[in-house]
Protein backbone atom coordinates (compact mmCIF):
# COMPACT_ATOMS: atom_id res chain seq x y z
CA UNK A 1 0.00 0.00 0.00
CA UNK A 2 1.47 3.35 -1.06
CA UNK A 3 0.93 6.53 0.91
CA UNK A 4 1.79 10.18 0.30
CA UNK A 5 2.11 12.77 3.04
CA UNK A 6 1.68 16.34 1.81
CA UNK A 7 4.04 18.75 3.54
CA UNK A 8 3.21 22.44 3.92
CA UNK A 9 5.32 25.16 5.49
CA UNK A 10 4.26 24.92 9.12
CA UNK A 11 3.22 21.26 9.09
CA UNK A 12 4.65 19.72 12.25
CA UNK A 13 3.11 16.24 12.42
CA UNK A 14 4.34 15.20 8.98
CA UNK A 15 7.26 13.22 10.40
CA UNK A 16 5.07 11.58 13.06
CA UNK A 17 2.58 10.32 10.50
CA UNK A 18 5.41 9.17 8.21
CA UNK A 19 6.92 7.15 11.09
CA UNK A 20 3.50 5.66 11.90
CA UNK A 21 2.83 4.76 8.24
CA UNK A 22 6.24 3.14 7.84
CA UNK A 23 5.78 1.22 11.06
CA UNK A 24 2.55 -0.13 9.55
CA UNK A 25 4.50 -1.01 6.40
CA UNK A 26 3.08 1.55 4.05
CA UNK A 27 5.47 2.61 1.27
CA UNK A 28 5.44 6.27 2.12
CA UNK A 29 6.56 9.36 0.23
CA UNK A 30 6.68 12.95 1.36
CA UNK A 31 5.24 15.41 -1.16
CA UNK A 32 6.10 19.12 -0.97
CA UNK A 33 3.10 21.43 -1.44
CA UNK A 34 4.67 23.12 -4.49
CA UNK A 35 4.65 19.90 -6.50
CA UNK A 36 2.09 19.81 -9.29
CA UNK A 37 1.97 16.04 -9.62
CA UNK A 38 1.23 13.35 -7.06
CA UNK A 39 3.19 10.12 -7.11
CA UNK A 40 1.10 6.97 -7.63
CA UNK A 41 -0.57 6.50 -4.30
CA UNK A 42 -3.42 4.67 -2.54
CA UNK A 43 -3.64 7.03 0.42
CA UNK A 44 -3.04 10.77 0.70
CA UNK A 45 -2.46 12.22 4.17
CA UNK A 46 -2.79 15.89 5.05
CA UNK A 47 -0.87 16.08 8.32
CA UNK A 48 -1.36 18.12 11.46
CA UNK A 49 0.44 21.33 12.27
CA UNK A 50 0.03 25.01 11.59
CA UNK A 51 0.29 25.35 7.82
CA UNK A 52 1.17 28.95 6.93
CA UNK A 53 1.01 29.85 10.61
CA UNK A 54 -2.80 29.57 10.50
CA UNK A 55 -2.85 32.91 8.63
CA UNK A 56 -6.30 34.09 7.51
CA UNK A 57 -8.05 30.95 8.82
CA UNK A 58 -6.60 27.56 9.81
CA UNK A 59 -6.00 25.62 6.60
CA UNK A 60 -7.21 28.41 4.29
CA UNK A 61 -3.90 29.10 2.52
CA UNK A 62 -2.85 25.44 2.33
CA UNK A 63 -6.28 24.77 0.84
CA UNK A 64 -5.27 26.84 -2.20
CA UNK A 65 -1.73 25.48 -2.64
CA UNK A 66 -0.46 24.02 -5.94
CA UNK A 67 -0.69 20.34 -5.00
CA UNK A 68 -4.27 20.67 -3.74
CA UNK A 69 -5.81 20.52 -7.23
CA UNK A 70 -4.17 17.11 -7.64
CA UNK A 71 -5.41 16.01 -4.21
CA UNK A 72 -8.95 17.04 -5.13
CA UNK A 73 -8.72 15.20 -8.45
CA UNK A 74 -7.41 12.05 -6.78
CA UNK A 75 -10.04 12.25 -4.02
CA UNK A 76 -12.84 12.62 -6.56
CA UNK A 77 -11.37 9.60 -8.35
CA UNK A 78 -11.78 7.51 -5.20
CA UNK A 79 -8.27 7.71 -3.69
CA UNK A 80 -8.32 7.49 0.12
CA UNK A 81 -7.63 10.83 1.82
CA UNK A 82 -6.96 11.24 5.55
CA UNK A 83 -6.79 14.71 7.09
CA UNK A 84 -5.61 14.88 10.68
CA UNK A 85 -6.08 18.04 12.78
CA UNK A 86 -4.79 20.85 10.52
CA UNK A 87 -5.33 18.34 7.69
CA UNK A 88 -9.03 18.19 8.61
CA UNK A 89 -9.15 22.00 8.59
CA UNK A 90 -7.53 21.99 5.14
CA UNK A 91 -10.07 19.45 3.86
CA UNK A 92 -12.96 21.69 4.90
CA UNK A 93 -11.27 24.70 3.27
CA UNK A 94 -10.93 22.82 -0.03
CA UNK A 95 -14.58 21.78 0.11
CA UNK A 96 -13.70 18.06 0.03
CA UNK A 97 -15.42 17.88 3.41
CA UNK A 98 -18.32 20.15 4.32
CA UNK A 99 -18.54 22.14 7.53
CA UNK A 100 -15.76 23.99 9.28
CA UNK A 101 -13.69 24.04 12.48
CA UNK A 102 -14.27 27.04 14.71
CA UNK A 103 -12.17 28.28 17.59
CA UNK A 104 -12.51 26.02 20.66
CA UNK A 105 -15.45 27.08 22.78
CA UNK A 106 -13.30 27.96 25.81
CA UNK A 107 -10.77 29.84 23.60
CA UNK A 108 -7.90 27.68 24.82
CA UNK A 109 -5.46 25.49 22.94
CA UNK A 110 -6.19 21.95 24.15
CA UNK A 111 -3.47 19.31 24.24
CA UNK A 112 -4.59 16.18 26.06
CA UNK A 113 -5.61 12.58 25.62
CA UNK A 114 -9.37 12.27 25.22
CA UNK A 115 -11.80 9.44 24.62
CA UNK A 116 -13.49 9.07 21.25
CA UNK A 117 -16.07 6.54 20.13
CA UNK A 118 -16.08 4.71 16.79
CA UNK A 119 -19.47 5.57 15.27
CA UNK A 120 -19.14 3.65 12.01
CA UNK A 121 -16.86 0.62 11.72
CA UNK A 122 -17.78 -0.26 8.16
CA UNK A 123 -15.42 2.02 6.28
CA UNK A 124 -11.97 1.72 4.72
CA UNK A 125 -10.62 3.61 7.74
CA UNK A 126 -12.40 1.83 10.59
CA UNK A 127 -13.14 -1.81 9.72
CA UNK A 128 -10.65 -3.13 12.31
CA UNK A 129 -12.45 -1.36 15.14
CA UNK A 130 -15.62 -2.51 16.90
CA UNK A 131 -18.74 -0.37 16.65
CA UNK A 132 -18.92 1.99 19.66
CA UNK A 133 -15.35 1.05 20.67
CA UNK A 134 -13.88 3.73 22.93
CA UNK A 135 -10.36 4.87 22.02
CA UNK A 136 -7.99 7.07 23.95
CA UNK A 137 -6.42 9.47 21.47
CA UNK A 138 -4.50 12.71 21.82
CA UNK A 139 -5.95 16.01 20.64
CA UNK A 140 -3.87 19.17 20.21
CA UNK A 141 -5.72 22.06 18.63
CA UNK A 142 -7.06 25.57 19.00
CA UNK A 143 -9.70 25.34 16.26
CA UNK A 144 -11.44 21.99 16.61
CA UNK A 145 -14.98 23.09 17.28
CA UNK A 146 -16.85 21.38 14.44
CA UNK A 147 -19.67 23.46 12.96
CA UNK A 148 -21.94 22.89 9.99
CA UNK A 149 -25.42 23.72 8.73
CA UNK A 150 -28.53 21.74 9.71
CA UNK A 151 -28.82 20.15 6.28
CA UNK A 152 -25.29 18.73 6.44
CA UNK A 153 -25.64 17.66 10.08
CA UNK A 154 -28.77 15.78 9.12
CA UNK A 155 -26.96 14.14 6.20
CA UNK A 156 -24.06 13.13 8.47
CA UNK A 157 -26.48 11.37 10.80
CA UNK A 158 -28.70 9.83 8.15
CA UNK A 159 -25.91 8.48 5.98
CA UNK A 160 -23.74 7.34 8.89
CA UNK A 161 -20.94 9.77 8.00
CA UNK A 162 -19.87 10.62 11.55
CA UNK A 163 -16.58 8.78 12.09
CA UNK A 164 -15.84 9.56 15.74
CA UNK A 165 -17.48 11.38 18.65
CA UNK A 166 -15.86 12.70 21.82
CA UNK A 167 -17.06 10.70 24.82
CA UNK A 168 -16.05 9.64 28.34
CA UNK A 169 -14.47 6.31 29.38
CA UNK A 170 -17.88 4.65 29.26
CA UNK A 171 -18.69 5.97 25.80
CA UNK A 172 -21.18 8.59 26.96
CA UNK A 173 -21.37 11.60 24.69
CA UNK A 174 -22.51 14.79 26.40
CA UNK A 175 -21.34 18.34 27.11
CA UNK A 176 -18.94 17.11 29.82
CA UNK A 177 -17.16 14.81 27.39
CA UNK A 178 -17.03 17.47 24.68
CA UNK A 179 -13.64 19.20 24.93
CA UNK A 180 -14.08 21.94 22.32
CA UNK A 181 -17.78 22.63 21.76
CA UNK A 182 -18.16 20.57 18.57
CA UNK A 183 -21.71 20.04 17.33
CA UNK A 184 -22.99 16.66 18.61
CA UNK A 185 -19.49 15.92 20.01
CA UNK A 186 -18.22 15.29 16.46
CA UNK A 187 -14.48 14.52 16.32
CA UNK A 188 -14.28 13.25 12.73
CA UNK A 189 -16.42 12.91 9.61
CA UNK A 190 -16.48 11.19 6.23
CA UNK A 191 -17.57 12.53 2.83
CA UNK A 192 -20.61 10.89 1.21
CA UNK A 193 -18.46 8.26 -0.56
CA UNK A 194 -16.53 7.56 2.66
CA UNK A 195 -13.14 7.70 0.94
CA UNK A 196 -12.22 10.93 2.74
CA UNK A 197 -11.83 11.10 6.53
CA UNK A 198 -11.17 14.30 8.46
CA UNK A 199 -10.51 14.05 12.19
CA UNK A 200 -9.13 16.33 14.91
CA UNK A 201 -7.60 13.60 17.15
CA UNK A 202 -4.13 12.29 16.24
CA UNK A 203 -4.13 8.51 15.58
CA UNK A 204 -0.47 8.70 14.45
CA UNK A 205 0.50 9.55 18.04
CA UNK A 206 -1.08 6.32 19.30
CA UNK A 207 0.78 3.54 17.51
CA UNK A 208 3.50 2.75 20.05
CA UNK A 209 3.11 1.54 23.66
CA UNK A 210 6.46 3.04 24.58
CA UNK A 211 5.23 6.61 24.17
CA UNK A 212 1.43 6.32 24.48
CA UNK A 213 -0.88 3.47 23.53
CA UNK A 214 -1.80 1.66 20.33
CA UNK A 215 -5.42 2.80 19.97
CA UNK A 216 -4.61 4.48 16.66
CA UNK A 217 -3.03 1.41 15.05
CA UNK A 218 -6.28 -0.13 13.86
CA UNK A 219 -7.05 2.92 11.75
CA UNK A 220 -3.97 2.21 9.66
CA UNK A 221 -4.55 -1.56 9.77
CA UNK A 222 -8.10 -0.94 8.49
CA UNK A 223 -6.70 0.89 5.47
CA UNK A 224 -4.33 -2.01 4.80
CA UNK A 225 -7.14 -4.55 5.25
Amino acid sequence: MRSSVIVFPGSNCDRDIAVALEKMEFKNQMVWHKETKLPKTDLIVLPGGFSYGDYLRSGAIAGKSLIIDEVIKAANGGCLVLGICNGFQILTETGLLKGTLLRNKELKFINKDVQIKVMNNKTKFSNKYKKDEVLKINIAHNEGNFFTNDYHLNQLNKENLIAFKYCDEKGTTNDFSNPNGSMENIAGIYNAKKNILGMMPHPERMVDKLISNTDGSNLFKSILN
Binding site: L56, A60, K64, K98, L102, R103, N104, K105, E106, F147
Partner: protein
Protein backbone atom coordinates in the same frame (compact mmCIF):
# COMPACT_ATOMS: atom_id res chain seq x y z
CA UNK B 1 -9.13 52.03 -6.83
CA UNK B 2 -9.24 51.01 -3.22
CA UNK B 3 -11.79 48.89 -1.40
CA UNK B 4 -12.36 47.78 2.14
CA UNK B 5 -13.78 44.43 3.11
CA UNK B 6 -15.30 43.72 6.48
CA UNK B 7 -15.74 40.07 7.44
CA UNK B 8 -17.89 39.10 10.40
CA UNK B 9 -19.20 35.83 11.77
CA UNK B 10 -22.78 35.07 10.74
CA UNK B 11 -25.48 35.93 13.23
CA UNK B 12 -26.08 32.40 14.48
CA UNK B 13 -22.39 31.44 14.74
CA UNK B 14 -20.96 31.60 18.25
CA UNK B 15 -18.31 34.32 18.57
CA UNK B 16 -16.38 33.44 21.75
CA UNK B 17 -13.77 36.18 21.24
CA UNK B 18 -16.47 38.82 20.81
CA UNK B 19 -18.18 37.49 23.92
CA UNK B 20 -15.01 37.86 26.03
CA UNK B 21 -14.44 41.39 24.70
CA UNK B 22 -18.07 42.23 25.48
CA UNK B 23 -17.78 40.91 29.05
CA UNK B 24 -14.54 42.83 29.57
CA UNK B 25 -16.05 46.10 28.32
CA UNK B 26 -18.91 45.60 30.77
CA UNK B 27 -16.46 44.81 33.58
CA UNK B 28 -14.72 48.15 33.09
CA UNK B 29 -18.04 49.95 33.23
CA UNK B 30 -18.70 50.50 29.51
CA UNK B 31 -22.17 49.34 28.71
CA UNK B 32 -23.20 47.90 25.38
CA UNK B 33 -25.89 45.74 23.88
CA UNK B 34 -23.90 43.40 21.64
CA UNK B 35 -20.49 43.09 20.01
CA UNK B 36 -19.23 40.90 17.15
CA UNK B 37 -15.54 40.61 16.36
CA UNK B 38 -14.43 40.46 12.72
CA UNK B 39 -11.65 40.96 10.17
CA UNK B 40 -10.84 43.93 7.97
CA UNK B 41 -9.00 44.03 4.63
CA UNK B 42 -7.97 46.94 2.39
CA UNK B 43 -7.42 46.02 -1.24
CA UNK B 44 -6.02 48.24 -3.96
CA UNK B 45 -6.58 47.24 -7.59
CA UNK B 46 -5.27 48.57 -10.92
CA UNK B 47 -8.57 47.98 -12.69
CA UNK B 48 -10.14 51.27 -13.89
CA UNK B 49 -13.64 49.92 -14.55
CA UNK B 50 -15.53 49.99 -11.25
CA UNK B 51 -17.93 47.19 -12.15
CA UNK B 52 -15.09 44.83 -13.12
CA UNK B 53 -13.04 45.82 -10.05
CA UNK B 54 -15.95 45.03 -7.75
CA UNK B 55 -16.57 41.73 -9.47
CA UNK B 56 -12.90 40.82 -8.97
CA UNK B 57 -12.99 41.80 -5.29
CA UNK B 58 -16.14 39.76 -4.82
CA UNK B 59 -14.39 36.75 -6.35
CA UNK B 60 -11.43 37.23 -3.95
CA UNK B 61 -13.86 37.18 -1.05
CA UNK B 62 -15.68 34.09 -2.22
CA UNK B 63 -12.55 32.12 -3.18
CA UNK B 64 -10.26 32.88 -0.26
CA UNK B 65 -10.91 35.76 2.10
CA UNK B 66 -14.26 34.60 3.46
CA UNK B 67 -15.48 31.22 4.69
CA UNK B 68 -19.05 31.45 3.45
CA UNK B 69 -20.25 28.74 5.83
CA UNK B 70 -19.67 30.89 8.88
CA UNK B 71 -18.87 34.41 7.70
CA UNK B 72 -20.61 37.36 6.04
CA UNK B 73 -18.77 40.16 4.24
CA UNK B 74 -19.32 43.73 3.10
CA UNK B 75 -17.38 45.49 0.34
CA UNK B 76 -17.00 49.28 0.46
CA UNK B 77 -15.31 51.62 -2.01
CA UNK B 78 -12.81 53.88 -0.24
Amino acid sequence: MKYSITVTLKKDVLDPQGKVVQDTLKNIGLNLKNIRQGKYFEIEVNEKDQAIAEKNIDEMCKKLLVNLIIEDYKINKL
